[in-house]
């Protein structure tokens, strides 16, 4: 480790997974993702230890750290807390200088923010009341279809005629899925139908924050090519996706630590 180079960490304690990113001059040195499980404190410590050991350093070598996410208060180490939406905005802005709208589709919530050219949050909305717009909807349906989460995207691209759900409720869609399977609907058509339903729900949020291009899609949802395509279709714009969509908030947190703001 070079003593003249400064390292910064960002930790994102989310409802489903905890992410850590180590950076230096906005460049990712190492990253780590782990399931949150039942104990945020222990898991957060493990994730931090993991990312540090990947970089061959210890906590003393860090010049700054920011924690964010739903479970930020549970962090077992002293670090500044910044809201996940600010971190997400910062991260997306660092990755894509043209980013003006950020859509974060997480395991439990979907958040949409319009950001300024400097990467500050101008407006922000969140859907926490209903599972339809979030990753949970996909998880519920994938469980019935016995499809792994990472298979959903590629599989849905094979769809010729997406199923039109008569409902926007994840619970009702679950039973509708069962009847559709009984009627002979194909798995890929059901998944593509779920993507459409989610995309239309997400689009409602995006419209309310007054979308500006470019649009970035992050969070676990960004790893699902079918969902990205559906969102891009509904919004009528190209959607940018980070290389590792689940890391962008942790990356943004690290960037904020580095900037010392």
């Amino acid at each position: 480790m070079n003593d003249h180079i400064k390292y910064y960490a960002g930790i994102d304690i989310g409802s489903v997974s905890i992410k850590a990113v180590l950076i230096s001059s906005q460049r990712i040195i190492a990253s780590e993702i782990m399931a949150s499980g039942g104990n945020y404190r222990d898991a957060a410590q493990k994730v931090l230890d993991g990312v540090l050991s990947k970089a061959g350093m210890n906590a003393e070598g860090l010049s700054g750290m920011v924690v964010t996410g739903l479970g930020a208060e549970n962090a077992p180490f002293r670090a500044r807390q910044v809201s996940d939406i600010s971190c997400q905005a910062r991260g997306c802005r660092c990755l894509f200088s043209s980013a003006r709208t950020v859509i974060d589709i997480g395991g439990q919530f979907t958040k949409v923010a319009r950001i300024t050219a400097k990467g500050r949050v101008a407006d922000f909305l969140m859907s926490e009341k209903c599972a339809t717009g979030s990753g949970r909807f996909l998880q519920v349906i994938a469980r019935i279809l016995r499809v792994k989460l990472e298979e959903i995207g590629p599989l849905s691209l094979k769809s010729q005629s997406p199923v039109e759900f008569s409902t926007n409720c994840a619970v009702f869609a679950e039973s509708e899925t069962v009847s559709r399977i009984a009627e002979g609907a194909r798995v890929e058509d059901i998944l593509a139908g779920v993507h459409r339903a989610m995309a239309s729900k997400v689009a409602l949020l995006v419209k309310r924050v007054k979308m500006e291009s470019d649009v970035v899609l992050t969070g676990g949802g960004g790893e699902d090519v079918g969902l990205v395509l559906a969102v891009s279709k509904v919004l009528g714009v190209k959607v940018l996706v980070p290389e590792q969509p689940r890391l962008s908030a942790a990356f943004g947190a690290a960037c904020l630590a580095e900037e010392g703001i």
Partner: protein
């Protein structure tokens, strides 16, 4: 002169047969299957058998409920709003507000002083506030849906369930259990949550005495009590809440017949062959 009403709901199919004097001759409740039509016939057959009639002896058959268009042997289809109103008015003539908590939707119906439907509100978009919410969470808790009312009465206080969405509430319930909340407290909290949603929806109609709660939700004493708490006065519950739609359908059929209306089409033969 018998008249039949068949109510095909999302989870249950109900048949009521009445005579000229509006006395109930037979009533049957069965689960709604994937193929509504077969089940409609089966339940109807059972009801006919109960009062020793034949299918052809029925003077008028009215179908209602969300599966009403799938009944090939019905003489007329009428919405469940109208049928519930008619059925409940026969039991409680003073009714002004009907709250129907079904397996997959919930409704509020307002009647004018003459007993006519004046307005209604409905939620079929979201599982929260419907029987489905309780059904899903009963499974998570490992308790029977039919036991939830009694279970909740054992709670001295309730655990607040802050998530509206059924999917999220399911998780919340698991966390509350892990924190040491008891099942009765949680079930009472669920009843509070549904009651809050349904009563708030019905408030748009202007709540007036008497209020009747019907549908599967009315069989849940805990839910009924929670609703009374929100409404601020006691509500009435029919002796068999599942049957009010089918009863109304049968009575409306009698009304049509009395006004000289007869079957406008031949009852389809296929329905008869199914009775074998």
């Amino acid at each position: 002169m018998p008249f039949a009403g068949i109510d095909i709901g999302s989870t249950m199919t109900k048949v009521v047969i009445v005579d000229r004097k509006e006395t109930i001759l037979a009533s049957v409740i069965g689960p709604t299957g994937v193929e509504h039509r077969h089940l409609a016939l089966k339940v109807m057959d059972e009801a006919i058998g109960q009062c020793g009639l034949t299918f052809e002896a029925l003077d008028f058959i009215v179908a209602t409920g969300y599966g009403r268009i799938n009944v090939p042997f019905a003489d007329k289809q009428i919405t469940e709003i109208t049928c519930h109103a008619r059925g409940i008015r026969a039991i409680f003539p003073t009714v002004r507000i009907i709250i129907d908590i079904g397996g997959q939707d919930s409704k509020g119906i307002k009647l004018d002083t003459g007993g006519k439907v004046a307005n209604f509100v409905m939620n079929d978009k979201c599982a929260a506030g419907t029987g489905r919410f309780l059904e899903v969470i009963a499974e998570t808790l490992g308790v029977k849906l039919a036991d939830m009312g009694k279970i909740s009465l054992a709670a001295r206080e309730y655990v607040k369930i802050s998530n509206t969405c059924t999917v999220f509430a399911e998780h919340e319930v698991t966390s509350r259990l892990a924190e040491g909340a008891t099942i009765p407290e949680i079930v009472a909290g669920l009843h509070e949550s549904i009651a809050g949603r349904v009563v708030n929806m019905v408030r748009h109609l202007g709540i007036e005495k008497d209020v009747v709660v019907t549908g599967g939700g009315a069989k849940n004493i805990g839910l009924v009590k929670a609703m009374e708490g929100k409404i601020g006065f006691p509500v009435l519950v029919p002796p068999e809440p599942f049957l009010t739609g089918a009863l109304g359908a049968a009575l409306l059929g009698k009304g049509f017949f009395d006004r000289g209306m007869i079957r406008d089409h031949e009852r389809r033969l296929e329905s008869v062959t199914f009775f074998k």
